[in-house]
Symmetry: D2
Subunit: 395 residues, 4 copies
């Protein structure tokens, strides 16, 4: 069945091309689409389109779908195209004509956007928690290794004395800022699309929806004001979510880059235990930090998914454009990748060991040149003179 | 003079390559670097590195620079490399040895970042005002043209009835959301880098800086906590600023895309007066909406500048990396472009006229198909049946 | 089994993170890895590492794998990580100690790159054929519709008279150029990596490989000269392939953009039959050109995959970096998407119908303004004067 | 004067916005626009639109412009918008009515594209020479330092023995391949746009142009076949040019990344003399390799400029779109940056010194593990067993 079935059969090649992997991606959205159906049914009950007992029957079947989904047993077929069709079909199968009423005054356009925003809100919440977990861990790391000296670098050259805990402390402050970006995203996308239908609402001379009610039931801050904006937000909202997650990814990119440099045998400042490393198929001696290389690479993928959505949304007129359906995959991938990166960094940091001996040996004298100059300043020499004096001395 | 002058002359080709256009871009930063010098001098006074009268002398010269800059007469030479050197040289020229003290306990690394953040905060504030101005204008446009009908489109095909004011209303709600992104950016970058020196602070056994004082003097919410984070924020902070401005750019991209479609002779829904349009060098009849095409294109440039910075910041270790100096140009360009786009859209909207006759003629019957189906629903027919009934009728 | 198995078990979370979806993507490479094993075994035979009968035994088992793969029955398990391990394991299972010899003097690093290049060469060849098929079709379209008039547009406004066949003719010339890009890519990546081992070849004082022989057996133009370049080419070669395919994608993007504009009810220049279009779940009247919107969107995905690889390859030192393993997915996706876009455009063009009546009606008088001016020129008026004369007349 | 001047004055804000920096960028194109005017005038002479003596007069004035430009004295004013207007105005000023004839049967659309392609062809030729110069230098470097040992790395960990000349040899082979990309670009864009006018040619019932003649005069391989393709190639051709140059940039990115790692005090494999390095404004001891960091960063800019053009060209219909004018700046910048990167690398390589002592010390025993395993293989042990044996030994 197609929700837009007419009296001709769509070409099967076209069907393959247009449906794509959507039916697979939508497995992630079943949970949210059930919530949306539930809120919509209750609302249709309140405004008199459905009778109380009809609403009850629908809720019961939706509950059944929810249970099936939790057991991984609710499957969307390719022919069904998407989660919305799969659920509507299930309702019709179980409830006959009553099932055919559920799509009253809504479109897949507003449904899918509501599903996606509920999903994103959930994921942002979880990422917030994971980042907080990582921060706690980094704090413990700093506490455990307080005062172990470590050179500070600029231009990849030794610059000034620093310490292991201060170096890692920078990442704690970074992650705290990254949480603010996630907070922003959570607020920015907290609007309920349901009721905007295809993007132009429902003619008021037919049915008057209670969009405040569905918004409240679904836990949104408020409904979208202008139905057209729901469709015009596509691409923008997805980018906001990935932008927020990408902040923490940039932090992880730098941490992984640092660690890859600092675990070379030449630096030898840190190490991970063997079981977190991998080997080579040809070189018997190898202990590789693949995990850090992949963290580095995967953070770039999140950036790439965000760029992908921005390329898709470019130069599109108002209203729904099918191009934007293609944003679902990079959105979900970006979220999944950022989650896995954060989790693997938690594991890595738990096992990260500073090599105190190497770090101490690395604290060579040139790191103290600025200190020397400033001591001359304290004795009254203008800084620029002190700088030159120390500089000459080093030759 | 180079602030890092040693006893050899740097190669002139290298000098050209490394300085690049920085000395020109830095003209925009003079105003802010003066503020930074001023705060730094006062603080050095407070902690006893400079005497009261020394501070006064420095402030007087800084004031002179400020006046020169306001008249466009303070020029940074290529040989000076950057604004920091130009100002320090001017101080030395006027104050001799006293001028050589100003760079005590600071680096160009923290200076430039402070300049840039002050500049960004200013620009974000101005953008906020310009967007608010545009919103006011759009509201007036909606009021003036309330109730003029206009087809709503999905997939570029006629979908449902809408109206000129509701169509434009979507952009008002979008811009209001875009303002939230700017608010976020303003808060996110509101940290003072001064005192972080090269990225590792100043050895505490030499001089104890009062970074709270400089932060307050410069109007920041607070100083950075970890000096290394100042350098690690490079690339991130610039992206946050452009991301925020790009939100409004995406809105403008859609508005320009709509208008270019709706001003074709085939749609003919809107027009701009001749003096806002351009002609052709070969075709005598042409009236082109170049302004809208360039708005569309320029919004893409802001996105491109953001991507440019993200490419630059990829896979860099902690601490200052000279690569990031190259982020200054796309940052400034991105800000300037977004400003010009908003301003030209204000002018365009002021002059935009809906063509009522064409709009009314465009309200063809198929736009009311959903309404017909929903009226059948109100009479009790399940929606899916009503949909099929209307669909058959249309054949 | 891991090919780099030591006496500890890798952490299972790390295993999940590092293997990712590689074992699934590698299903596409089985065919090529069998070819690589085959060539390598023959070469080891020739240089005396394997005996003739050993080579024969190995070839027989490889043939078995090939047959299994053709029936879709050779599956790589997650635990095996990749195709190379799966095949080596199968050989060991069937041949015992002999199987353990196959990895002599090679690394997964050179193996995977050889697999990928063989795969890319195959795909480029197929794309070349598909584009040629499309060109033939477009030529037939032009022939069938020769001389139907059509306005030419600049700035989205009517500019000068053109015709349906000349408009489509532009796409034929574009695609012919796109074929040159594919030719370039085919030549550019035609180098055999096998024998470069981990990126530093095989110590010459141990085993002397015949890399010319394996290169010839696999149908490459020549082997890589410098083993390190094999690894340094990662990211570059993938981008070259996607760049070439993306040329045709840009052409398809423009064609789809044109068609979406020209199939609006306002232009109404072309149409596709109902069975190639889709409908709406709420609006009974809709006939949407989703297929063209998705073509437009999917061409952007190919660009995005190319950018993804460029982000991954940024700022990486010489030699194998695990980050680059992540390039496999965007490469395969980019190739698959471009293939599906070309195929669906073939179907669409086959069914595309110009609407002669609308096109003729669209040939309004302003399209002939330049012609008028040029006729004045022929009578001796300077062009700039003629332009002004016609321009005034149009008022 | 505007070439499209009508009887109203364009709004000055619009003028600023639409002209932008074009009049400055066009200074680079004067030389090529003179060539285009020259070829066009000769052709108009041949087909009888201009008389022999008229052509001669025009050629004389064009020669004057050429001389002025060579002395840097031909300036385009903002009001003139672009090089085409500046030259046409100069001709009218000098020749009166005759000057007004030069724009017969051409548009700025075909003119600018011809200018740009001539410019690109020139630049590609120069880049080819510069890359060849760099290759020669690298070969000399390899010869001079043949046989100095150097560890080969994978995953940033020591892998197998290599040597300085073999390491650098990889870059020679890479650059040789990069030259092929430049060759491809040179051929790909070698089509003459002149005569395509606004994108739809010149009505055949007015004037019959000899586009083969202008193409030959300008040194192109052939004219574009379909006038519309000239406009549809915009964005594509620019990307082809930058893609080709970016190949060498990727090579330079890797070389700079290597050198930055290998010049850290921890590796200490190579060094550049002081005069190619820079210092710090606060740390007296610093010797920084800014030049390499900026090479690394600037190569990313070339990539970014290419992406910028791809964002601009997305989803645009056939025919001239003003958006594409914005591609001129990133194109010119991308070309200029790539040129400067290649030149500075020539200087750097000329001065690069391997530190033999450090390199020899770095050849630690684990680098020879694979060699040991392969020696066991030669004695008959299956490779997988030999691998395990050596691996155990290393513990």
């Amino acid at each position: 069945m197609k929700l837009w079935e007419k009296d001709f059969n769509p070409n099967s090649e076209i069907e393959d091309f247009t449906v794509g992997e959507d039916y697979l991606l939508d497995q992630k959205l079943i949970k949210y689409d059930v919530m949306v159906n539930l809120a919509h049914a209750k609302m249709l009950g309140k405004i008199g389109i459905l009778k109380v007992e009809e609403v009850d029957k629908i809720l019961k079947v939706l509950d059944e779908i929810k249970s099936l989904d939790e057991k991984g047993e609710f499957k969307i077929s390719k022919q069904q195209e998407d989660v919305h069709t799969a659920i509507e079909e299930f309702l019709i199968e179980k409830l006959g004509d009553l099932g055919k009423k559920i799509h009253t005054a809504r479109s897949r356009n507003d449904q899918v956007m509501t599903d996606i925003l509920l999903y994103c809100k959930d994921e942002l919440k979880q990422s917030n928690q994971t980042i907080n977990q990582l921060i706690t861990l980094l704090k413990a790391f700093c506490k455990e290794h307080t005062g172990i000296p470590m050179p500070g670098y600029t231009h990849m050259q030794k610059a000034m004395p620093y310490s292991v805990d201060k170096w890692m402390g920078a990442f704690i402050e970074m992650l705290n800022d990254d949480l603010n970006a996630i907070d922003f995203a959570q607020t920015a996308i907290d609007k309920c699309p349901l009721g905007s239908a295809a993007g132009y609402g429902v003619p008021e001379n037919t049915i008057k929806l209670d969009i405040k009610m569905t918004s409240d039931l679904l836990g949104f801050a408020k409904p979208f004001d202008n139905p057209l904006y729901v469709q015009n937000s596509r691409g923008k909202y997805e980018q906001i979510v990935l932008f927020a997650l990408n902040q923490a990814m940039m932090t992880m990119n730098k941490l992984a880059t640092d660690l890859l440099l600092f675990t070379t045998s030449e630096f030898n400042f840190f190490s991970l235990p063997d079981e977190l490393c991998t080997g080579s198929s040809i070189m018997p001696q190898k202990k590789n930090y693949d995990v850090l290389e992949l963290v580095k690479g995967k953070t770039k993928l999140v950036q790439a998914k965000m760029n992908e959505i921005s390329l898709l949304s470019s130069n599109l007129p108002s209203g729904y454009n099918r191009d934007m359906q293609l944003a679902k995959e990079p959105l979900i991938q970006g979220i999944d990748i950022s989650k896995s990166v954060l989790k693997i960094m938690i594991l890595s940091i738990k096992n990260l060991k500073p090599n105190k001996t190497s770090l101490e040996k690395a604290m060579t004298s040139e790191l103290y040149a600025t200190e020397k100059a400033l001591k001359l300043v304290k004795k009254g020499m203008p800084f620029r003179e002190a700088y030159k004096a120390v500089s000459k001395d080093l030759k």
